[in-house]
């Protein structure tokens, strides 16, 4: 039987790697880079055999002619990001094998738990996958299972459904037939705006960021679900619903508060959150 060994959430901001690598990075970026190095070591210390990676597609391949709410990629290889992302952000590419057995097993288990995953055998992973993977597993030596969530194109599932999906995913992982150690890495962000008047700020809504990180940090699931509505998130910044991938982690952790969490506020280009749960230390039942 498989074992869930780590739950972790970090940003997928494609600007963040450049902010770290740039000349004379500001203190908040230095601190955030240090946070992420700790996250990398933390995941490595859990010795996962496979990483389930939860992230979104930024209208790079799933469009309004076939917009899945939740999708598992089950092709043998994953590669990304898209060429225009490489050009625009100068971010590093990522290639990984996919643990096809685990992907298929999740797709077999999901219908029994009332989760309606779509699936794909032809896809790429965009910066929402490659940025966090390059931080957490730069060796590219672990197979992954990509789970795509729609946080971009309304109508999207509400916060409660993301929580429920996380909860169901924990049960699915426990039922996986393979004797594997499974780490889960979720990629999201807090308030952020792209192409609107609030673009480029430290955060498009620092109050939202602090409030949500406090609620996540205290394991206040119901308040998160109540407050993380589409309208509230959009008021905070026009792509803020990426936060829902962190709500999924709260479900995966069965509502328990994370062992560590925090957020840094650089002077520009969005806040940098992190959160992780000590799964093996007995936080989860």
């Amino acid at each position: 039987m498989a074992k869930l060994v780590e739950i972790m959430g970090i940003t997928h901001s494609p600007n963040f790697p450049g902010q770290i690598a740039g000349p004379d990075p500001e203190p908040a970026i230095v601190e955030a880079a240090r946070d992420y190095e700790l996250m990398r070591k933390r995941m490595a210390g859990c010795r996962p055999d496979v990483l389930v990676v939860i992230a979104s597609d930024h209208l790079n391949q799933f469009f309004m002619d076939n917009m899945p709410a939740f999708l598992i990629g089950k092709a043998p290889k994953a590669e990304g990001p898209f060429p225009h992302e490489l050009r625009t952000f100068g971010i590093a590419p990522y290639r990984a094998d996919i643990d096809v057995d685990v992907a298929r097993s999740l797709l077999q288990l999901a219908p029994k738990m009332g989760v309606d995953f779509s699936f794909s055998d032809e896809f790429r992973i965009d910066h929402a996958f490659t940025v966090p993977l390059n931080f957490i597993r730069p060796e590219m030596d672990l197979p992954i299972v990509p789970i795509f969530t729609n946080v971009m194109a309304p109508p999207i599932p509400p916060a409660r459904r993301f929580y429920e999906l996380g909860n169901a995913l924990r049960k699915m992982i426990a039922e996986l037939p393979a004797d594997k150690r499974v780490g889960v890495l979720s990629s999201g962000h807090l308030a952020i705006e792209i192409g609107g008047p609030k673009e480029g700020r430290s955060s498009s809504d620092p109050e939202f960021d602090r409030r949500m990180m406090h609620l996540v940090g205290s394991g206040d699931v119901e308040t998160v679900i109540e407050e993380a509505t589409w309208d509230r998130m959009m008021a905070s910044g026009n792509v803020t619903p990426g936060f829902l991938n962190f709500v999924l982690l709260m479900g995966l952790a069965d509502g328990k508060p994370p062992s560590v969490s925090g957020v840094r506020f650089p002077k520009s280009k969005g806040s940098v959150p992190y959160m992780a749960w000590d799964v093996e230390a007995g936080v989860l039942p």
Partner: protein, 346 residues
């Protein structure tokens, strides 16, 4: 005021083509090397199958089959016209038409303003291309959609825990998939025109048994949504409609057991016995039994597409059908059924 009419019907190709072609699937299989030699001998067929085949290779049976189906289809159209729906939702399957390797969803709500429909395309399965209306094979007609209602359904289903895909236009296909196109075609069998806006609603009926002509699929494919999930989805859709301003006809569109999906019958003839049981259950009005059906049994009986009817059953929970027809056949690849559920306030 919201109101719902329920219709269960078939989208099998047989009605579209001539009686002489109706048994072509069986003819093709009788020539196939994959069919055991013993099963090519009618003496080894069920008695009912021999009787249908008779001395004219099923021509007389084809005429009876068509007449029985038309009775149901015409009753459905009359009910639809009397109901005057704002839109018609059709649960149907996709056979590698619009959904392919890049994304295969369990459920998809199509929110079209309008969509092209090519109803007279030749049937690979029947190997026939002359339609009974002698209309041009390449004719394309425009069918209206109801984007507003479809959007509402997608939004409300996602809100209530059904992870549906939604689509504003066709993905791979150029024209409406066969399940929806033929449903409309048969509802317009008497060529009166079909002006009701539609909401095609895809159900991944084939799941692990999806077959792609000329291609081998590596490994296990994910299963179809379970019967209980389809039932609950149908029930939730009915709830959403009841709180909407629209009069909606809900159509579960499929034949029941398919011979070409029934391995235990060497893919020659459908599981008529099990379909008879399903029809007897339908007649009792205990629709909730559909929710408990065993997916493995359904697949063994070639009833993959019945999931479309199970969505309808969920939506019709607590209602009685006013008309129920069972049109069984051993030689025309599938059993067909028709059911009408009148509006609750009628």
């Amino acid at each position: 005021m919201a109101e719902i009419l329920g219709i269960g019907m078939t989208h099998a190709p047989h009605l579209q083509f001539t009686d002489e072609n109706m048994a072509n699937v069986l003819r093709r299989l009788l020539k196939s090397e994959l069919t055991p030699a013993a099963m090519k001998d009618p003496q080894n067929w069920p008695a009912g199958m021999r009787a249908e085949w008779d001395s004219d290779e099923g021509l007389t049976a084809a005429r009876r089959h068509r007449a029985a189906l038309l009775e149901g289809v015409r009753a459905a159209r009359a009910a639809l016209d009397a109901f005057k729906p704002d839109c018609v939702l059709i649960w149907g399957d996709d056979q590698y038409e619009n959904f392919r390797e890049d994304v295969i969803p369990p459920f998809c709500v199509y929110a079209f303003d309008e969509v092209d429909c090519a109803p007279f395309k030749a049937s690979d399965g029947l190997g026939a291309d002359t339609n009974v209306w002698n209309e041009p094979k390449d004719m394309v007609v425009k069918i209206k959609g109801h984007r507003e209602a479809a959007n509402l359904l997608a939004e409300k289903l996602l809100e209530t825990g059904f992870d549906v895909t939604w689509s504003y236009r066709l993905h791979h296909a150029q024209v409406l998939s066969h399940a929806f196109a033929r449903t409309i075609l048969y509802l317009d069998y008497d060529r009166k025109g079909f002006s009701y806006p539609i909401i095609p609603f895809h159900v991944n009926c084939y799941g692990s048994n999806l077959r792609i002509k000329g291609k081998t699929i590596e490994g296990r494919l994910p299963p179809s949504p379970a019967p209980w999930r389809c039932y609950d989805l149908g029930k939730q859709i009915a709830r959403i409609i009841e709180e909407s301003p629209w009069r909606v006809a809900l159509i579960g569109s499929s034949s029941w057991s398919h011979g070409t999906l029934t391995a235990k019958h060497h893919f020659l003839y459908p599981d008529v016995e099990v379909d008879r049981q399903r029809f007897a259950e339908l007649k009792t009005g205990h629709l909730r039994q559909r929710r408990e059906l065993d997916p493995d049994q359904m697949r063994a009986s070639g009833q993959h597409e019945m999931l479309n009817w199970i969505c309808l059953a969920g939506a019709m929970e607590g209602r009685k059908a006013s008309l129920q027809l069972f049109v069984e056949s051993y030689i025309f690849n599938s059993d067909k059924a028709l059911a009408l559920f009148p509006p609750a306030r009628q």
